[in-house]
Amino acid sequence: MTNLNNQKLNKSNFLILILLFAIVASPGFYIFIPFCILLSFIIFKDFESLYIFKRWKFILFGMMFIFVLPLVLGEKDAALAGIKYSSEYLRISTLIMIRGIGFYLAITVFSRQVSVALLSKWISQSRLSSASEAVPVAINLLPMLQKNAVESYLVFKYRGGFKRKRIKNLLRLILTILINTIKMAEDITQVLIYKEMSLKEK
């Protein structure tokens, strides 16, 4: 059983959060400062977070975004090797890419370091106490919800429900899933009430 009292943010988590806000708030080319600090931190502390740079599709997308956009959009006020491009859109596309990559890397590193236990502790300490109690119940119910939905769909499908009056039968299917979900919620309510009564009796 995880002891939630021992779960807290360490210094590196705080640094990532500060860098994240700095990346969002930095105007213009000042974004390079927090971006370079973040990149240095990731290279030394969590190199595996840079896995996205191994994907050729991402690199291709980045190159196209930075280099193709200035060739297509805006006023062509500059030239390189005879190819005209828009310097304004080159600046904009570079900044957008740097900002996006920095944001993505910060979120990736942060989410790799945060555990479910820490997240549960934050939610329970916030004013959303209902959500903190509901999250573990929802996680456990997911397989049953999926089973209900799939079984309802298969019953409709094998009875030929989607061959005629498709919209009407689709609404009936949604209604069936909602009714089953409400029944499940009522059962869970009874279980929670009984559980609390049992604890009070003890």
Binding site: S93, L141, A149
Partner: protein, 195 residues
């Protein structure tokens, strides 16, 4: 009595939040992978029906937003990991639903208004997400794309705005339909179960 209502609230947040999360994880992932057009409308429409059905039975403050928190946690730890765009969409949709509903008595007008509010957010999601992540430069990019597209097609510049207005109206009508469907389905479900 308060304790029973609290337990009912937790149960409905868990079950309906789980259902919404299941739709986001399964259909959301497939639709994003296939790059289907207007996927936001379908997913938001499903979210409207789920949120409003739960709210019609437990019309309490905190229900829609707590459901959004449940969805985010489920999506964060599902296969596919942490994808920021749906994360922002879910939390904003839950917050907008919470602000519009805010413990008010369920009614057809309220449900349609909630549906419209969520669909209008879906329409503006890309711009809001772009502003948040990429800064104000995003607006320049979108303006440039619209101007360039209209120029290539040989159309007047005003037609670019017309397309945006048509898209906005399309989302608005989808919101009205989703809200009306949620009202109709939730009432039928309650009648069948005698709630």
């Amino acid at each position: 009595m308060t304790n029973i209502l609290d337990k009912k609230k937790i149960a409905y947040i868990a079950v309906f939040g789980g259902l919404w999360g299941l739709l986001e994880i399964s259909f959301g992932a497939v639709m994003h992978a296939l790059h289907l057009p207007f996927k936001g409308i379908w997913l938001t429409g499903a979210a409207v029906i789920v949120i409003l059905t739960a709210y019609s039975i437990v019309p309490a403050r905190g229900v829609p937003f707590s459901m959004g928190v449940v969805v985010i946690v489920l999506k964060m730890f599902s296969i596919g990991g942490f994808i920021f765009s749906p994360f922002i969409a879910v939390i904003f949709e839950a917050a907008i639903a919470e602000i519009i509903l805010f413990g008010r008595k369920p009614s057809r007008k309220l449900f349609i208004l909630t549906g419209c509010g969520l669909m209008i957010y879906t329409f503006s999601h890309r711009i809001i997400w772009g502003l948040l992540i990429y800064g104000r430069s995003t607006i320049d990019i979108y303006e440039g794309i619209i101007k360039q597209g209209v120029t290539w097609l040989g159309l007047p510049e005003e037609w670019g705005m017309l397309v945006i207005v048509i898209l906005f109206l399309f989302h608005l009508v989808s919101g009205i339909i989703a809200g009306w469907a949620a009202w109709m389905l939730s009432n039928k479900a309650k009648n069948r179960l005698n709630i």
